[in-house]
């Protein structure tokens, strides 16, 4: 729907992908996470009273926007050039680094994404549609050693049962999952992947269907206002983001991120 339609009806459909802490819906249907909380504040500013939350697989977020199944995605999806060709991104809301979830005790002694390229016996799980795939490909990890899972939550079982030796995700996701189960932990002494000579850091933003620039611009405006308040950094840090993550959010613009490469 267009901004006009949304404001007229006072209702917007926002999707999350069930990733703690970026965006998720608890079993009672209450949306939580860095994305949804900020989105709620923005919608309040835009005068939209009612948010209809949609949960879907991460890999369905972009197709879902294209298919008009929702108006906006609040999943802190990383802003990547490829994706910019498919959908519109707001300015970054957050930034986050990478992490690894491994079995308790880290039996395979894994500390970096590049380990999977160097040791072809190791299998690494990634989520369908997530940007870790691109990183692995750039690092030269063999396709056969990638285990594609459908949802974050499957990672615990996948890693703790040894179906994959590690799960590559953002540091926040990894620590969130590690906190849920004793069979897994966050890989210690983690070395951030370096790709094309740069340490990987991702910037997450809100996502819109291409052509819906008005809505994006309105969200950008409201987001900029909100980011200027202390409420914003409190929200993010409440979900485990570090001060560095919060500061990092302002280091790049979407334009820069989309144009990279």
């Amino acid at each position: 729907a267009t901004l006009q339609e949304i404001q007229d009806s006072g209702s917007i459909r926002i999707a999350v992908a069930n990733e703690i802490p970026y965006g998720y819906v608890d079993p009672n249907g209450e949306a939580m996470g860095a994305g949804p909380d900020v989105a709620k504040a923005i919608m309040e500013k835009l005068g939209v009273e009612n948010i209809e939350w949609v949960t879907t697989n991460f890999s369905s977020l972009i197709p879902g926007l294209q298919a008009d199944r929702f108006d906006m995605v609040a999943a802190e999806m990383a802003i990547l050039p490829d994706r910019c060709q498919q959908v519109l991104f707001s300015e970054p809301n957050s930034s986050y680094g990478e992490g690894l979830l491994v079995a308790a005790g880290n039996p395979k002694d894994i500390h970096a994404y590049s380990d999977f390229a160097e040791n072809p016996d190791l299998k690494v799980a990634i989520m369908a549609g997530a940007d870790q795939l691109e990183m692995m490909q750039k690092l030269g990890v063999d396709e056969a050693n990638l285990v594609t899972i459908a949802a974050n939550a499957d990672a615990i079982s996948t890693v703790s049962t040894g179906r994959a030796d590690a799960y590559a995700a953002t540091s926040l996701t990894a620590s969130g999952l590690a906190g849920q189960n004793d069979g897994v932990e966050v890989a210690g002494e983690f070395t951030d992947p370096v790709i094309d000579g740069e340490e990987v850091r991702s910037w997450g933003g809100f996502t819109f269907a291409s052509g819906n620039e008005e809505l994006r611009d309105a969200v950008n405006e409201a987001l900029a206002e909100f980011k200027a308040t202390p409420e914003w950094s409190e929200t993010l840090m409440g979900y485990g983001f570090t001060q560095a993550d919060v500061d990092g959010s302002g280091h790049k613009t979407t334009e820069e991120l989309c144009a990279a490469e």
């Binding site: 890999s59 197709p63 549609g129 594609t148 459908a150 179906r163």
Partner: protein
Amino acid sequence: MLFGYEWDLSSPLAFAVSILPILLTGMLVTIQATVVGFLVALVLGLVLAVLKAAPSRLIAWPARVVTEFIRDTPLLVQLFFLYYVLPEYGIVLPAFMTGALALGIQYSAYTSEVYRAGLEAVGTDQREAARALSFSPTHTFTHVVVPQAIPRIVPAMGNYLVSIMKDVPVLSVVTVLEMLNVAKIVGDRTFDYLVPLSMVGALYLIMTLVASSGVRLLDNWLPKQGIPLK
């Protein structure tokens, strides 16, 4: 790129041609899962059929309940159960094996009925004739009952083989890289689902057609002189 094959997005046709080898890699897994699942269903179904026919109610009745339970619950949920619950009890099977096992279990409920119907259709008159000729029970079973049951069992089993093949895509939810999963990954990465998913549909039509014809050929080839069918 997937499995070492690059795709070519210049036109739908070029895209289709370029991802065909990728889909065929997935098809191979589909076929493997079908075959393994079918074999499991054949064995497990026979076990269930024998248990259900057991003279003791203490055995027959639970076997019947188990069959009904398997038959009435979704393959997807059974698969989740095997994939996520068994490891909690220390049984960790690779995804492919878990999937094939789930298929086999689901279909064992159906194959057990096929066995039962096939064996029951061999009438008591045949068993009595064998008894009057002093055949041993084993000989009666292997040389009188089974040869007459086979022509009745084979076509029904063949139909279930085809059904299993159509259920293999469910295994994609536990990371098995069968054809649909592969197509879905291609779609996720290219944002074009139309071509890969349509190709999977077409390839499925071909596979089921070939499999059904194979079953029919096998059925025609089987000797069934005078054995009353149906």
